[in-house]
């Protein structure tokens, strides 16, 4: 058991990479074998993360212990270690990553028709990068995984992107944007070492970074923050996102929205918060402000979209704004040591932000899958050509309804809890900003209902309006066909999660709540 516990994270992280090497060695004509292998191989991390979640909840959750740690010297001369570990904040996200990876592979197996081998290879590699970020406890290791995730995504967007959406432009934009942020983060990481003599996140946090050099602390804070904010993405660093999401193949969008965006938020909570609590307290309001702008702005821009995928992409900007608002509120609360209730609100805001990370992952993941479903049939995403699908494809309609309403934060579905906790925290700390953010909720409802549901599903279905229908397998069809089995298998686990977590978020919340209480109480500055 101890052996398993000390190696499980390493296994989770590197198994996908091993898988991609194995795929690389397979002959590219054997597409079926490649697909089957990749899917089943990705199930292993899924099982491991499931076990991890259960084991963590039973044994380590109380006090949010940093469990499953493994630490080997990597570049001992500068104290860079291979140091991994997981706590209440990362365990659920690991599960989310594993789940979306498996679903993405499974879905792609049916819809990816060109350059199959490369796709599956890169997709598995991507998983390694994402897992890695969530378990890294060493800044350099963190950075390495952070960047590793970038490369496969670049290819996924560029190669399998829809040619109409300028995928090459989107891919390069995505890469450069993220790189531009992260390279400055690297400088700041070095700064952390120069200040504390260690790259270990936990050690550095314990020692405090740039305690006597406020200017450096401030610069480092912003360098980290901008890197994370670009990834999140927070207004005004979001413009890569609509392009990247729109251009990416379905599974790519799912991973991008479901996991990659979370890396930024996770980075803020794991790295920025623990290393620079003082600066966080000082600048938290800016973070919160950006979050609020993101919420409202993203929602309005979504409302103006007529391209379904771009709409959902912009909705991510809005939804990630909640995370930023929550995180910013946490920061502001750090500077309110004497205000009664502020710390409680901070814990709520932290919970809200982390819940949103998970919830947005499953919801927007599902939404992007749903875009894929209709796109594979209609070969367009222009909302103007649809209408009345509710009567024609009821299963698709029902699935979209769940995802859509979860996305607009309907109580009883997953998204609500994230919003509720975020606002519960934010109202206790930055009420003015929170009030503005509330506008976003209304606009969100407007674009989901008005743009998505109404345009796609309501009204009378008119076959004359669009005549390029095929089945999902590419055969000619007179109209849309309902979801195929594989699409149901892909989507329904997510829908089930939305409903279950909407009704009973407690198991998930237990993780995040322990994390938030303990992380917040451990901050000192």
């Amino acid at each position: 058991m101890d052996l398993l516990r000390s190696s499980v994270l390493t296994l989770i992280v590197f198994l996908p990479a091993v898988g991609s090497v194995i795929v690389a060695l397979m002959p590219k004509e054997k597409e079926d074998l490649i697909k089957k292998f990749s899917i089943w191989w990705s199930v292993i991390p899924l099982l491991l993360t499931t076990w991890l979640a259960i084991d963590y909840a039973t044994n380590f959750l109380r006090g949010n212990q940093m469990a499953y740690q493994a630490k080997f010297a990597w570049i001992p001369s500068i104290g860079v270690n291979y140091h991994v570990g997981a706590d209440g904040l990362s365990v659920p996200l690991l599960f989310l990553t594993a789940l979306l990876t498996t679903l993405g592979l499974y879905y792609s197996a049916r819809v990816i028709r060109k350059r199959v081998k490369e796709f599956f290879l890169l997709f598995l590699l991507l998983a390694t990068g994402m897992f890695g970020v969530f378990v890294s406890l060493d800044l350099i290791l963190f950075y390495v995984f952070w960047e590793i995730g970038l490369v496969p995504m670049y290819f996924l967007i560029g190669i399998w992107g829809n040619p109409k959406d300028r995928p090459q432009y989107a891919a390069i934009k995505f890469f450069l944007y993220t790189l531009a942020g992260s390279i400055f983060m690297l400088l700041a990481m070095i700064g952390v070492y120069l200040s504390t003599g260690t790259f270990d996140i936990l050690d550095a946090a314990a020692k405090g970074v740039w305690l006597n050099a406020p200017t450096f602390a401030m610069l480092s804070f912003w360098a980290f923050f901008i890197a994370f904010a670009i990834k999140v993405p927070s207004f005004p660093f979001h413009t890569w996102l609509p392009d990247a999401h729109t251009a990416a193949p379905t599974a790519g969008s799912v991973i991008l929205a479901g996991v990659l965006l979370k890396l930024g938020a996770y980075g803020i909570l794991r790295v920025l918060l623990s290393l620079f609590p003082g600066q966080f307290a000082q600048f938290g309001w800016i973070v919160a402000l950006l979050g609020v702008i993101g919420i409202v702005y993203g929602a309005f821009v979504s409302l103006a979209q007529t391209d379904l995928k771009r709409l959902i992409a912009y909705s991510s900007v809005s939804h990630m704004g909640y995370i930023m608002l929550g995180i910013g509120a946490v920061g502001v609360a750090l500077g309110m040591k004497n205000v009664a209730g502020a710390q409680e609100s901070a814990a709520m805001a932290f919970n809200g932000a982390s819940l949103q990370m998970f919830m947005h992952g499953i919801i927007t993941g599902a939404l992007f899958f749903l875009v894929g479903v209709i796109y594979e049939r209609a070969h367009t995403r222009d909302l103007k050509v649809f209408g009345g699908l509710s009567a024609v494809v009821p299963v698709y309609y029902a699935t979209m309804m769940f995802a859509g309403f979860a996305s607009l934060g309907l109580p009883g579905l997953a998204g609500f809890w994230a919003e509720f906790f975020t606002f519960r925290g934010a109202f206790g700390i930055v009420p003015v900003l929170a009030v503005i953010g509330v506008i976003g909720i209304v606009i969100t409802a407007a674009y989901i209902l008005y743009r998505i549901i109404q345009s796609l599903f309501l009204g009378e279905f008119d076959p004359k309006r669009w005549d390029h229908w095929t089945t999902v397998f590419g055969e000619h069809a007179d109209g849309p066909t309902d979801m195929a089995l594989f699409e149901k298998v892909t989507l329904w686990p997510l829908v089930i999660l939305m409903v279950l977590l909407g009704l009973w978020p407690t198991p998930l919340l237990a993780f995040f709540n322990e994390a938030s209480v303990n992380i917040l109480s451990s901050l000192h500055f």
Binding site: W240, Y297, A304, M348, L410, P411, F416, F427, G459, T506
Partner: protein, 728 residues
């Protein structure tokens, strides 16, 4: 405290319908009859449990002192754990009694009502047409099952958060059901379609809901909990909340209790369609009629009232703290009561009239709450639910009949109807009492109850209670506003009755309208019973003659419950003056209606006789004071415009920033080479007087390909480096 063990069932009450919902959407939905059977079975189960709980509570009035409260740990929040749970007090019991019953009636009614709809082309849905059922019959039952879950859950919830959740689930169902016939469209592009109505309903109530959520969150922040009993049992806390203030822009210092109450009240305004968020409810009539009956009359819209009833201790604390929130509630309620009633006068759609009457009646309840007539509000809420659902269901039956008649006419080809026929237009009806006697008489009973026909209808007793309170407590403005509303209510109700049921049929369709099936008529009868006699649970004790005969146990029960929550609601007592005034007004409304519509039945194709005398006022009323247009102008269009603006801003400004940086880089590169070429080398050469054949190099990069250029730069670089030395 030992509670009757039946209370342990409480948490199960919302469950059967929830299970029915999932069962239908997941498994049963291809089989229409099976789906409706599941739904009806589930709701009957819920009904039985609700009544069991309610009646047991009624039998044990002492429980008002110790309301039942059952908790289970739910959400870890920081260092505390939030509990979920159910509670039963008198209000809950009353609501359960009403909701369980009305739900069941409407479910049963729906099995008959949801036949194949007239606006669909049978050729497109051959299977459904053959069965004679709506193609999305199963879906309908799934939705209303989910709705039932929402309503029942809302009633039994013991904390504001759960209440909010169920509140929103109802909002969802309302949206889904209003837009149930999403493929319906009208020849008149201005006429709102079901899909638009659903959207409008959801978004309008959403505005109220977020304000509600803000109030909820503020309350949570201050109380650390949202459990009703925990909050309202803590007088100290309420006191503190009503004395601590917060500074708001424009409003100055307000108490926290006032602010929170106000925010929560906005939730109720949205949900209960009070002015100024009333616009969605009339359009919600685009939904199938059972939906209108259920959601937009009996249950969901009155949930707003229920919310304020629940939160009354907070409102009253706020009022004690000097906040004007109660007055605001009273004002909104009274104003809406009159305002909506005026609009109802000029509507021709049978359901729209009822919709405005609903708004108006809800206004009465809010007015009652605003003046502290807590018990009266609750009782009017309960009784209104019965007669209003009755009215809606009866009107549904009428519509159904007219539609069938229309089809009948159509099929037999007696007339080719040119254009569109509106089966809901009262001017297309007339004389239906003969064709549809059960429907007709039950409608008249409901209408009488709504008009507060003295003594024999339930509506009289409940409405009278409110007016009596207003009079007794000296809220004269409220009283007169409501009294004026009462007159109008009687007038438009009987206008409706006369137009629909009396006189002679004004169309072929009306002439051939058949009575509805028994699944639809029986619930009407059952509800009519309560519409007539339900009021006898609240007859004032000192009312002459009847006061002694009837019981006022409900009012008593609620009073006790109010005491428990610190609401001191003394019975207003009976007073002849207001009672007579209101009776007179109600009766005169009926009489005026008879004079205008009943005495001389309207002939086919004639305009509304009111149009002429009222002139432009009629047009204004007909157009609902142009509120839709106004909101379109100030809210919808700016929002869409803003969205477009932000989008263009994003594309053209924010996104371009990166491009600008890129362009700057390119420009720098170009400038670099131009600079070096033109200014250093070229200018130098110019200076030396040699420009002749250098032109080729101008366009080139610094990398001219000329080795000696390179060397010159090498030399110049060394010179520059050497120059640095003395400059140092």
């Amino acid at each position: 405290m030992n509670y009757p063990s039946v209370f342990n069932l409480t948490w199960l009450i919302p469950l059967p319908t929830a299970l029915a919902f999932f069962a239908i959407i997941l498994f049963a939905n291809p089989k229409k009859r099976l789906s409706s059977n599941i739904a009806v079975g589930a709701v009957i189960l819920a009904w039985i449990m609700s009544w069991a709980v309610a009646i047991v509570f009624f039998l044990n009035p002492e429980l008002t002192e110790h309301p039942f409260d059952l908790n289970a740990p739910w959400l870890p929040m920081g260092t505390i754990t939030f509990h979920m749970g159910v509670a039963v007090d008198a209000v809950t019991a009353g609501m359960l009694f009403m909701v369980g019953f009305v739900l069941t009636m409407i479910f049963i009614y729906s099995t008959g009502y949801m036949s194949f709809p007239g606006h669909l082309d049978p050729a497109k849905y051959p299977d459904a047409a053959k069965e004679g059922l709506d193609p999305r019959y199963s879906r309908f039952f799934a939705y209303i099952s989910l709705f039932a879950t929402g309503m029942l859950g809302l009633v039994v919830a013991n904390n504001l958060l759960m209440l909010f959740i169920f509140w929103e689930i109802m909002g969802l169902c309302s949206y889904l059901l209003i837009g149930f016939w999403f493929d319906k469209s009208y020849p008149d592009p201005k006429q709102i379609t079901p899909k638009q109505a659903g959207l409008k309903a959801f978004l309008t109530t959403r505005v109220g809901d977020v304000l509600f959520m803000m109030g909820l969150i503020f309350l949570f922040i201050h109380a650390g909990d949202l459990n009703f009993q925990a909050i309202f049992g803590n007088q100290e806390f309420l006191h503190e909340l009503s004395t601590s203030t917060v500074n708001l822009p424009f409003f100055g210092a307000v108490t926290w209790a006032g602010l929170i109450s106000m925010l929560i009240f906005w939730g109720a305004i949205g949900k209960s369609a009070q002015f100024p968020l009333h616009v969605w409810l009339p359009d919600a009539m685009e939904g199938p009629t059972p939906v209108s009956a259920l959601i937009h009359a009996a249950t969901m819209v009155s949930a707003g009232v229920y919310l304020i009833v629940r939160m009354s201790p907070l409102f009253s604390a706020a009022a004690h703290g000097g906040s004007g929130v109660m007055m605001f509630v009273a004002f909104i309620g009274a104003f809406t009561a009159l305002f909506a009633a005026t609009i109802a006068v000029a509507q021709k759609d049978i359901k729209k009239v009822l919709a405005y009457s609903t708004i108006s009646q809800l206004g009465y309840m809010f007015a009652a709450l605003g003046i502290g007539a807590w018990v009266a509000a609750i009782i009017h809420l309960l009784i209104h639910a019965f007669f209003k659902s009755l009215l809606f269901m009866a009107s549904g039956s009428v519509i159904h009949g007219v539609e069938h008649g229309h089809h009948h006419v159509h099929e037999h080809g007696e007339h080719g109807h040119e254009g569109y026929f509106d089966p809901q237009d009262m001017f297309n009806m007339g004389g239906l009492l003969k064709r549809m006697p059960v429907t007709g008489w039950t409608f008249i009973i409901g209408g009488a109850s709504l008009s507060a026909f003295p003594l024999i209808t339930a509506g009289f007793w409940s409405k009278d209670e409110i007016l009596a309170h207003a009079w007794a407590d000296g809220h004269m403005a409220v009283y007169w506003t409501l009294a004026a509303g009462a007159f109008l209510t009687a007038f438009y109700t009987f206008r409706q009755i006369f137009l629909t049921f009396f006189g002679s049929p004004r169309t072929e369709a009306a002439e051939h309208a058949p009575e509805s099936v028994r699944a639809m008529t029986w619930p009407l009868v059952a509800l009519a019973f309560f519409a007539l006699f339900g009021g006898f649970v609240a007859v004032p004790e000192d009312f002459p003659v009847i006061g002694g005969l009837a019981s006022d146990f409900m009012a008593k029960l609620m009073e006790m419950q109010g005491e428990f929550y610190g609401l001191h609601v003394a019975p207003a007592g009976f007073n002849w003056t207001p009672a007579l005034i209101s009776m007179t007004l109600a009766l005169s409304g009926i009489v005026v209606a008879w004079l205008v519509y009943g005495r001389k039945p309207l002939a086919a194709g004639k305009p509304d006789p009111l149009r002429k005398p009222l002139g432009p006022i009629y047009t204004i009323l007909e157009n609902k004071y142009y509120f839709d247009e106004f909101y379109h102008l100030v809210a919808v269009r700016p929002t869409l415009w803003l969205a477009q603006f932000f989008f263009l801003f994003d594309r053209n400004v924010i996104d371009r920033i990166v491009n600008w940086v890129g362009a700057l880089g390119r420009w720098l590169a170009a400038a670099l080479r131009r600079w070096i070429d033109e200014f250093i080398i070229d200018a130098a050469v110019n200076g030396a007087g040699l420009v002749t054949t250098w032109t080729g190099a101008v366009v080139r990069l610094i990398q001219t390909g000329q080795a000696q250029n390179y060397l010159l730069i090498l030399l110049l670089s060394v010179v520059v480096l050497l120059l640095l030395i003395p400059l140092k």
